[in-house]
């Protein structure tokens, strides 16, 4: 059986029809994970033993109670290595956590397990989710399955590459400035960043706490709905999760276009972006127009400041969050030191990579005495203006359509020496995080070299159900997920 083209829904059907057992299926995914890793480097840890144990339990559950099957019963899923997993190594892509074995599960992990999922691997990522190419991982870069000399994007690059290659039917990534949507776009899959407060951050290793959000990375809109339904909702352990009821997302994927009013930015926002990306984006607009969806031009005058705002706010929050890595309670401790302060410094120098150090320094600067008002406070005020722009636009439209990235996947190594050029590739994803909005990235064809291009649908806060409906309509009418038939790993 070829499992490489299957998503959650198809796998669940096979399991329910008893065409395969969970143990057989899990063995197949484990074998593929081991076999592919020298090529793609998508996995940091493969959990053979615990996955087979959980798969056996799922087989028993299906046997005992065939009518009361949980939504993800027996479905093998690999997740980004940013979620802590009880007794399973969690590194966050960092040398400082290389041997960290968490004593508890993140809420997202607990909810996946409670829904019956079999967690069989932890996927590669930029260190502490800081990066747009996966090249900042302590465990080496991941390759893009569409072109092995290119980046899969980042920071959830391992998740995107693994889902596109069918090494896992789906995954959960995290998105602070585009880290689910950008790799999804570069690897031809669907990625969703839910509204801030929709999914618990408990046990999700913190980068920038006011921006971080976990979301599904999938091969179909239906799978995205299934996964989001499993992980969303209030968590007493994360005081920023909202009590807003979680809709049955799987009931929102009929793809009915009648309520959609699509907002598009005026062309001046798109100066300098790759013409092939622009052309793919325009075709998506045309598709909606052909189905009589009103296309309404909107203005977001402050989004040109989003990257500047982000690199002050995200680094400030990171500098504070990463103060916890001091070699005392967990993680690496330098072997040689003169005193306590020297131990802190040597440990942090040995454990963190360049990008993490750079961001800690920048954030520490922006929060430091004498600079706080001019940088952190100023950025937080402009963040408000960016958010207000979106709210104003949503008085006229239900959904905003934008490209995900200004370009297609770039070559590995190409942007490593110039952090600013790397940061600027996030220009279309970052504003969404600053405003706390939900957004779904979906393929919109390829460029002339066969590299995927993505567009994103952005919604009002807690409007994930409507976004899924919009995406389901587009997926059906464009047949966009056919793109994954070209991947052969």
């Amino acid at each position: 059986m070829d499992i490489s083209k299957l998503g959650i829904f198809e796998i669940k059907s096979l399991l329910m029809k008893r065409e395969i057992s969970c143990v057989e299926l899990t063995k197949m995914y484990l074998e593929r994970a081991h076999r592919s890793n020298p090529l793609l480097n998508a996995f940091i840890t493969i959990a053979d033993e615990s996955a087979l144990f959980d798969a056996r339990k799922s087989d028993e559950n299906i046997q005992k109670n065939p009518d009361g099957i949980r939504p993800l019963e027996g479905v093998p899923i690999a997740i980004k290595d940013i979620f802590v997993t009880q007794n399973l190594r969690t590194t966050c892509g960092s040398g400082i956590l290389e041997n960290f074995i968490p004593p508890y599960d993140a809420t997202v992990v607990k909810r996946l397990k409670d829904a019956g999922a079999v967690i069989f691997g932890k996927l590669n990522m930029d260190e502490f989710a800081m990066g747009s190419s996966n090249e900042n991982s302590h465990f080496g870069a991941v390759k893009n399955p569409f072109s092995l000399d290119r980046t899969p994007g980042g920071s959830s690059g391992g998740s995107a590459a693994a889902v596109a290659s069918g090494l896992t039917p789906a995954s959960i990534g995290t998105d602070t400035g585009g880290s689910v949507r950008q790799p999804a776009a570069f690897c031809g899959i669907i990625g969703m960043k839910p509204s801030y407060g929709r999914v618990s951050r408990y046990g999700m290793i913190a980068f920038a706490s006011s921006l971080d959000q976990a979301g599904p990375m999938c091969r179909s809109v239906r799978d995205c709905a299934i996964l989001l339904e499993s992980i969303a909702g209030n968590d007493p352990k994360d005081s920023t999760t909202m009590t807003t009821p979680v809709p049955h997302y799987t009931e929102w994927i009929s793809g009915d276009p009648s309520e959609i009013r699509l907002g598009v930015l005026s062309p001046r926002h798109y100066e300098g972006i790759n013409p092939e990306v622009m052309s793919a984006y325009s075709k998506v607009v045309e598709l909606f127009a052909r189905h009589n969806v009103p296309i309404i031009e909107i203005e977001l005058p402050h989004i040109k400041y989003a990257v500047a705002v982000y690199y002050i706010i995200a680094t400030s929050e990171a500098s504070s969050n990463l103060a916890r890595y001091d070699g005392v309670r967990y993680g690496l401790r330098s072997r040689e030191f003169k005193n306590l302060r020297d131990m802190y410094r040597k440990t942090r120098m040995a454990g963190f990579g360049d990008e993490v150090k750079r961001r800690i320094l920048l954030g520490t600067f922006a929060l430091s005495s004498g600079y706080y008002d001019a940088f952190f406070k100023k950025a937080s005020q402009v963040r408000r203006l960016i958010t207000n722009d979106f709210y104003k636009a949503f008085s006229k439209v239900t959904t905003i359509l934008m490209p995900v990235t200004p370009d297609v996947a770039f070559k590995l190594g190409e942007r490593m020496s110039d952090p600013l050029s790397m940061y600027l590739s996030d220009i279309f994803t970052i504003p969404v995080n600053l405003a706390g909005l939900p957004s779904l990235s979906i393929p919109a064809g390829t460029n002339s070299e066969g590299l995927p291009i993505g567009v994103q649908f952005i919604g009002k806060p807690f409007d994930e159900h409507f976004l899924l409906n919009v995406a389901a309509f587009y997926e059906r009418e464009s047949n966009c997920m056919e793109i994954l038939s070209r991947v052969n790993i």
């Binding site: 004593p103 801030y196 007493p236 500098s319 103060a323 005193n339 320094l361 600067f365």
Partner: protein, 98 residues
């Protein structure tokens, strides 16, 4: 706002606050990169923000308190299981008081 000159003293100061000791090569590389990034973010100066209240959170709702009900927490051996040095259930660090 005046252009921020990222000089050696500034980098040394933020390294000290950040508990990072850069070697010479990294010191100059980071100094240049941080200068370039700060020059870029100085574009925010052109935005009028007088009277705009800063947005500090991802969502504008008060944080929810959980019910004050005791629940099972980690046991001590789990809390210290990843400690680089542990003694009698405590985290061990180098001596700080002579």
């Amino acid at each position: 706002m005046k252009r921020i000159e990222v000089d050696d003293n500034l980098i040394r100061h933020i390294c000290n606050l950040s508990m990072l000791d850069l070697d010479e090569k990294d010191f100059f590389k980071f100094r240049e990169q941080i200068q370039k990034i700060l020059d870029y973010v100085s574009m925010l100066d052109e935005v009028g923000t007088e009277g705009v209240s800063p947005m500090f959170g991802g969502i504008e709702c008060p944080s929810l308190m959980r019910m004050d009900i005791p629940y099972e927490s980690l046991i001590r051996s789990q809390v210290t299981q990843n400690a680089p040095a542990e003694k009698e259930g405590l985290f061990e660090i180098p001596k700080v008081i002579e």
